[in-house]
Amino acid sequence: MALTWTLTSAFGTRFLALHGLAPWLRWLGGRLLAGAGAVAAISIIVFGATQALPSDPARMVLGPEAPESSVLTLQRQLGLDRPVAEQYLRWAARLVQGDLGSSLDSHVPVLQLVQARAGNSASLLAGVLAVVVPLALGAGCWLALHRDSWFDRKAVSALIALKAIPNFALGIGLVMLFSTTVFRLLPAVSLLEPGRSPWSQPAFLILPLATLALAGLPYLIRLVRSAMIEALDSEYVLAARLRGVTERRVVWTHALPNALIPAIQGLALTLSVLLGGTLIVEVVFTYPGLGSALNAAIEMRDIPVIQAIVLLVAAGVVLINLGADLLTVLLTPKLRTALGAQP
């Protein structure tokens, strides 16, 4: 992602003529601009997709028996008789002000509905990260230090296999193992009490968390492993060893920090994959997060809610990538100086 982002940020810098600024500020400005452009494009796609709906929203609200005249009145009230571009701009303007409309189904403001669900999903994802990041770093480094051993080869094969298993299959497998068929230790569905933090009801959190962790781990472990192997094979590690630096110092202060940099991009990718994964996993466990809300909204054709959630998730992915690129540049001496040295 980084390469193409750099290309697109070149777009931005030229457009805004940020030439006078400090190089890193210019880079950041271009990058933010490209991100904002991506979010704008995403909002157009989301709006456009809902425009393609075959049925008329005014007709849907009023029902099939309503007279044609009241449908026309509502259409005028909702601005549906305006050109599409104008409708989009009005929609986007309200969006920026935080007005996401109200649910066609429950008539609750979308913002309120989405906020509660987003909190639950964020708790779940935070828990997954807290498990996945240390495990991936530990296991990846350990495998790299024991590369090509019997255990390493078996572990890599197992990780390849684990990565291919769909999320819902993992979830159902865990449910069968721990809730229904083999053991009966944990609840099969996560019926959280509304209004309380998911963390105060940990029994409901374990299985969805484990499913997503198992889905995210294989890729990240292999990434850390190969980044660490590459670092250990590099010339600076050889040089450190030749200087007589202890092996422990070589691993911890020379190799590991350099192996972490690709892991940041990998983590960003994992996060965006997990955002998609929560959709399915939340439905498997009836966990009340964004995913199950989106599923319910699609079932009810509740367009404002669908728009809000899809937009939120996609904008979240853009933000995650932005953060990862920023961290990568800050942590890579070569890139940092390259940006500083630009004329």
Binding site: M1, T4, L7, I45, A49, P54, M176, L279
Partner: protein, 272 residues
């Protein structure tokens, strides 16, 4: 592909697993003892004589529905991966070779599309436009195109700098000739690997879509749909869920193992 390909345990395991799933999907309909919508037993009935996998939530034969339900997953997965491969390769070659504004626009569009998690993109379109199988295939492939585009673009940029491409250009061959005869053959193997991964993702997305209830319409048999329908009876009749889950896993896993094996037999022996 080297001759050592089949000597890798991963290649053999991949062939075996995806072979079982493909055989069940393609030849299965010939052997299904009952129709997909025939009510032949008790609701959530366990394994019985003539029904080794028991009955589903409506009392239909699980084995028959399993044998009939693979075809939709397989053809849709193959077509969406193949369409994405075609479109992504063309766009990627164009981006790499044209460069400049064309390249920037294409790469930026790919990034925008990549911001949507695959399943959400497909769900959005299917939820709004309906569950026509070809629409699902097209949207799923649309979700894959950016990945192919970026892969082909970066590979082609690497190849385009090599001497034989320069030689062909100096000899005055037309642009399409350079693209198709000089650059494309050199990116084929990584593309094959990517195709295998895409198959595995496509199975995941398509069966996930059916699992959520937006894929193949009932009462047709479909592995993802079977999971969705029989999930409520997980306690009473686990086989009705376990059997389709296993088939999906076999297919996705087999395709992924084959892709890894192709990648490895070309990269040498080092596991990375």
């Amino acid at each position: 592909m080297s001759r050592g390909f089949l000597r890798q345990p991963q290649a053999r395991a991949g062939l075996l697993l995806s072979g079982i799933a493909l055989l069940a999907a393609l030849a299965g309909p010939l052997f299904a003892p009952h129709g997909a919508a025939d009510f032949v037993g008790a609701v959530y009935g366990g394994p019985a004589q003539g029904a080794p996998l028991g009955y589903d939530y409506l009392g239909r034969d699980v084995l028959s529905r399993l044998l009939l339900g693979g075809w939709s997953v397989v053809w849709m997965a193959f077509s969406s991966a193949f369409l994405a491969l075609l479109a992504g390769t063309v766009l990627g070659l164009v981006a790499a070779y044209a460069g400049g504004r064309t390249d920037r626009t294409l790469s930026w569009s790919a990034d925008v599309l990549l911001a949507f998690p695959n399943l959400i993109l497909v769900l959005l379109v299917v939820a709004l436009l309906g569950r026509d199988p070809w629409l699902i295939v097209l949207t799923a492939s649309l979700a894959f195109v950016p990945g192919v585009l970026r892969l082909v673009r970066s590979l082609a940029l690497g190849v385009a700098e090599q001497e034989f491409v320069e030689a062909a250009e100096l000899l005055g061959y037309p642009r399409w000739h350079v693209l198709l005869r000089e650059i494309l053959p050199n990116v084929l193997t990584p593309l094959l690997v990517h195709f295998g991964s895409m198959l595995s993702w496509a199975v995941t997305i398509l069966s996930g879509l059916s699992f959520l209830g937006y894929g193949v319409a009932p009462p047709a048999a479909d592995w993802g749909l079977m999971i969705n329908e029989n999930r409520a009876g997980l306690q009473a009749q686990p086989l009705a869920v376990l059997a389709p889950v296993l088939m999906i896993v076999l297919f996705a896993l087999g395709a992924n193992l084959l892709a890894e094996a192709v990648a490895r037999s070309n990269a040498g022996t080092e596991q990375r």
